[in-house]
């Protein structure tokens, strides 16, 4: 390893974003090109992570270390495991697609739009790489700012409400986790390193408080029922690119936080309160699945479907088995592709008809056959059809929960019914049937640019569904390591 790959992966997109910002809105064309080059370069520099990643090794790889705030022993400490690797790659791919997807749609303040996404990409890579608690927090919070701007500036009619709600909800959640982090820092004798936190003996009552603080932060981000209400608003109002990044990557910060912070740092509290979290997850899966069924707005429907699918992620995490955890991580990746693709599909139709209401559509297949075929694939993946990426994670999680308790598995399994119901019913009403109105009559099929974006995602969805083994290989050791750290009693015994 000749250069600090992780730092490049974090800072290259941010630097590209600043360049785009410097170009300014008056040179929109140049801004687009630089943004695309920056996004592709961001992806290319991340690829060596995949090839050079040692799949047999446990612990963190590509580690970087430099003092940052010397007085308080805060360090710029980076490193990744298999889980971070997948999410970083997902992030880099999504950024490229989002830049391409916004190519023509965004006409006002182009450079600011592109810059926001590039910076967001770098910051989220930072979250996935950070091994220092404060560094993690800084990146975690900083992602709010570009997304706030994206929703508020390029969003729909009710964008201000959505943007402010998004910001305050997430900030409220994470501020408590900051208090928890400072508390851990003091207990650890002045270190913010996550690795030190992992080895810190903690009594159960302290663990529970820390766990609850983390829970609030990450549950808002995931989002879990009942703190999910910001998500439908944010999704509905955000521009397509914003929805895609929000669903594909930002929600993963919550799941990632559980796995990177909650489980290893406070394992006993995590075990003790697992039942509570599982209950919330199941409510999300079942109840929010039902809520999705009655939505009349497509974006809102997909947003609720996201909440329901993310319920699977938290369920898989808190089952405490290798299978469940791998399933949860694969579900995160798959959801990144599928929900991103679905939001893009809605975006494609919205640009043409300027409506997200299901009732305004019907018979789209007659005018946009290619689009309808791709949309079909993503709809199937969203309902968890075997052979698509959506199946892999859900299946693993259901399997893992079956080993724990039949009824958990049964409740979780209901998603296969509800998921299929709300997705396919929407698909049927929008795509099939007679041509509903003159707007649909005028529809033209997708352009090459849209075709490329959706095509890449379709390949990813199918590839991951048919041959998930390479992803599993990357994850095995990481998941085992997290489970080893999350063994109950480890921290309680240390204190004796």
């Amino acid at each position: 390893m000749s250069y600090p790959i992780l730092s490049v992966v974090i800072w290259l997109p941010i630097a590209a974003g600043l360049m785009v910002l410097a170009v300014g809105d008056r040179h929109a064309g140049a801004a687009r090109v630089i943004a695309l080059v920056g996004a592709i370069a961001g992806l290319l520099v991340a690829l060596p992570l995949w090839t050079q990643f040692d799949r047999m090794a446990s612990g963190f790889q590509f580690v970087e270390f430099a003092p940052w705030i010397a007085t308080f022993n805060v360090n710029y400490q980076l490193g990744i495991d298999g889980m971070s690797l997948l999410l970083i790659l997902l992030n880099c791919v999504t950024t490229v697609l989002v830049v391409i997807a916004g190519w023509e749609v965004i006409q006002s303040r182009v450079s600011q739009y592109m810059a926001a996404f590039l910076m967001l990409s770098g910051l989220m890579n930072g979250v996935f790489c950070a091994l220092d608690g404060l560094l993690f927090y800084v990146f975690f919070e900083a992602t709010l700012i570009p997304m706030f701007i994206v929703i508020g500036v390029w969003g729909g009619p009710n964008r201000v409400y959505a943007a402010v709600k998004f910001f305050l909800y997430t900030l409220a959640g994470s501020l408590l986790s900051l208090v928890a982090l400072i508390y851990l820092y003091i207990i650890a004798g002045g270190s913010f390193s996550l690795l030190d936190f992992y080895e810190l003996p903690l009594p159960l009552d302290a663990q529970i408080l820390v766990f609850l603080a983390f829970l609030v932060a990450f549950a808002v981000k995931v989002p879990m029922w009942p703190v999910h209400t910001w998500l439908p608003d944010a999704h509905v109002e955000a521009p397509t690119g914003g929805s895609v990044v929000l669903a594909a990557i930002m929600l993963k910060l919550g799941g990632y936080g559980f796995l990177r912070l909650s489980l290893p740092i406070v394992p006993d509290a995590s075990q003790a309160l697992a039942g509570f979290v599982i209950a919330l997850s199941l409510i999300a899966v079942v109840y929010i699945g039902l809520v999705a069924l009655v939505q009349s707005d497509m974006k809102k429907l997909i947003a609720y479907s996201s909440v329901s699918h993310m319920g699977f992620v938290t369920l898989g995490i808190f089952i405490f088995s290798a299978q469940g955890m791998e399933g949860a991580i694969l579900q995160m990746v798959s959801h990144g592709f599928v929900s991103g693709a679905l939001f893009l599909c809605v975006g494609v139709m919205y640009e043409r008809v300027h409506s997200r209401q299901i009732a305004d559509y019907g018979g789209v297949v007659n005018k946009m056959p290619v689009f309808a075929a791709l949309f079909m694939l993503f709809a199937m993946a969203n309902s968890g059809l075997p052979g698509t990426s959506g199946f892999v994670g859900e299946w693993l999680v259901i399997l893992a929960s079956m080993k724990v308790d039949f009824w958990i598995a049964a409740a979780a399994g209901s998603t296969l019914v509800f998921g299929a119901a709300y997705t396919l019913w929407m698909y049927k009403r929008v795509i099939f049937g007679a041509v509903a109105n003159p707007h649909v009559e005028e529809l033209a099929d997708i352009s090459k640019r849209e075709m490329f974006v959706l095509g890449v995602l379709a390949l990813a969805v199918l590839g991951m569904g048919l041959y998930p083994a390479p992803l599993g290989e990357v994850l095995h050791e990481s998941v085992n390591e997290i489970l080893r750290l999350a063994v109950p009693g480890r921290k309680l015994l240390m204190g004796m």
């Binding site: 800084v138 709010l144 500036v153 943007a163 402010v164």
Partner: protein, 483 residues
Amino acid sequence: MQYITPLAPAYAEVFLLCMVCVILLLDLFLSDEQRGITYALTLATLGGCFLLTGYSGSAGEPHTFSGMFVADLMANVLKLGIYIAVAMMLVYSQAYIRARGMFRGEFFVLTLFAMLGMMVMASANHLLTLYLGLELLSLSLYAMVALQRDSAVATEAAMKYFVLGALASGMLLYGMSMLYGATGSLELTRMAAVIDGGAADNTLLVFALVFIVAGLGFKLGAVPFHMWVPDVYQGAPTAVTLMIGSAPKLAAFAFVMRILVSGLGADFLVEQWQWMLIIMAVASLAIGNVTAIAQTNLKRMLAYSTISHMGFLLLGVLSGSNDGYASAMFYVVVYVLMNLGTFGMILLLSRAGFEAENIDDFKGLNQRSPWYAFIMLLLMLSMAGVPPVVGFYAKLSVLWAVIDAGYLWLAVVAVLFSLIGAFYYLRIVKLMYFDAPLDEAPIAPDAGMRWVLSANGIAILLFGILPGPLMTLCEYSIALSLQ
């Protein structure tokens, strides 16, 4: 035995005093067109003070005037901060005061006298020196608020400021006289020694403490002694509001440190004032943040925001450890930097005959000027304490100290109120980025304003990415000054 008082630690003050007199006299002979000379000379004086303080910082014995005056590292660092803040304030205000007929010798002379007061406060090691500095500062500020004598709001604000300020001074003096009665000394270090020796009457000390803390509360603008803050902030000309809200806070921090920590730092007294400060801090956070939400006048909103920031500052002080004092110092330095930038933005948007003091005046700033909108974005995020800008680290270091001192609940309270605070800072961001502009007038600042304001914004970001050096500096200042 030394017969000649060594002046080395006070060179900057002596130089400043001489220069103020020179400027005062010289200005009499200048016509209005030549007023730029006064301005340039004032800035040059600040530069001279900067060099002198930098020089005396490396000199040996910090005490002089029989121990009434001390130029330790904390004082010197704060003074350097004061020079920078005053210089920035002058650059930001230039166009504004020119357009309002305040570009006259009085403005500069009063500014420099106020600054002299702040410097004396920062270096005071004796209750008399402390009081002298405070009154020099306050009287200059009262006059500055009333500088626009035809403006009814400004004169009302000045009156209010004066009456309440005089009341506060009275309380402080009363407390000080009781301290003298109890300890027989006005010199802070000797006073502390007497208290430590157990020779002082505890009841009297606690009684004095109450008056002192109340007086400090007035000067800082902490709840429940905050009533003057919003009116004065709103009523004073924006340039003067900027003056009141920035550099004097550094001096006020020194004041708190000198009197509470150096003078009344005995353990049993710390326990007493800790609780007084806790109540003031929590009340300031609550009232400052909640009331700010309802404001439509930006200057008034910032006044309430100041109150809440003072609450945070008190949190750092009440931790009662060197880390806590260092965090409070870091907080106040960062706060001054943010405040300068924010009022700089208001001055930027104001022009002849137009005061940009309603929050709606910021609507659509991103369309009028993306760069200044970006700077304001950084400033607002910093005030709200969102990473990666420096305001976050200021809040972080205070929370750190508070939790370390065992007040976990206090940290949670502070965090919850800063969440409420985030809402009104976010509203400004929302207006700038999401709304259409009301005012299409081009933004054309002079070169000084443009560069300094940009540097101010970049500093907010840069100190946010690399907060280490500034934190270390504060840590050292406190550690070396409070042995």
